[in-house]
Symmetry: C2
Subunit: 107 residues, 2 copies
Amino acid sequence: MAASAPVFPAAEVFRALASPKRLQILEWLRSPVEHFPPQRDGDLVDDGVCVIYIADKLGVAQPTATSHLQALARAGLVTSKRVGQWTFYKRDEEAIRAFTRRLRDEL
Amino acid sequence: MAASAPVFPAAEVFRALASPKRLQILEWLRSPVEHFPPQRDGDLVDDGVCVIYIADKLGVAQPTATSHLQALARAGLVTSKRVGQWTFYKRDEEAIRAFTRRLRDEL
DNA sequence: TAGAAATATAGTTAGCTAACTATACATCCG
DNA sequence: CGGATGTATAGTTAGCTAACTATATTTCTA
């Protein structure tokens, strides 16, 4: 028999969103070019934004930014892409859309 | 000059939703008659559900249930109505709709 | 290959949260 | 009025989270 399923869309997504800093990151990532300087080894839009840019703009140390980004990734709201020594993070627009759509019906 | 506004829909709403127990409450309150026994001094639908019913069904002590319900109320997701010695809680459907609509556009 | 650069992980600490019990407060009713 | 009932508040504690520094890991480059 199946384990009892969660009530609703994993509270994990809400936990990821329950942080001003993470909401700020998500907002910046909506239009990376407006918010971050050009990148050498990856396209801001296609590949995503590197951790250091986000850490700097957020005003936190790099490990803290990594932690926030990993939380967003676990929740499925962003994806990460390793390119050489860089890790680029970008929004997962499809997952975000699916989430808001499900909210509209089930919340 | 204005104080810096929050990034987005108060993270407080997300914080309220970032709890399986509170999500469970919200779900039960969608159809109170299906989930709670009849009430003497207030209509389950029109007035809301009393704290004790929710505490019992949730499997927590009454003060814990009160705390969850107050969190939901602060987030604007439910409203409370004091009737005599009872406090009834019900969903604020309009506020919830406004929230999901805003999410769709701004998240 | 050695060092520099970007990120991840480990370890620590302060602060918040959820739970409980005890009790105060408010209201009903006999 | 006085006890019972429903809810709220106070106070406590265990566990989680966000932040930091230090360091490990990975990769690039001179």
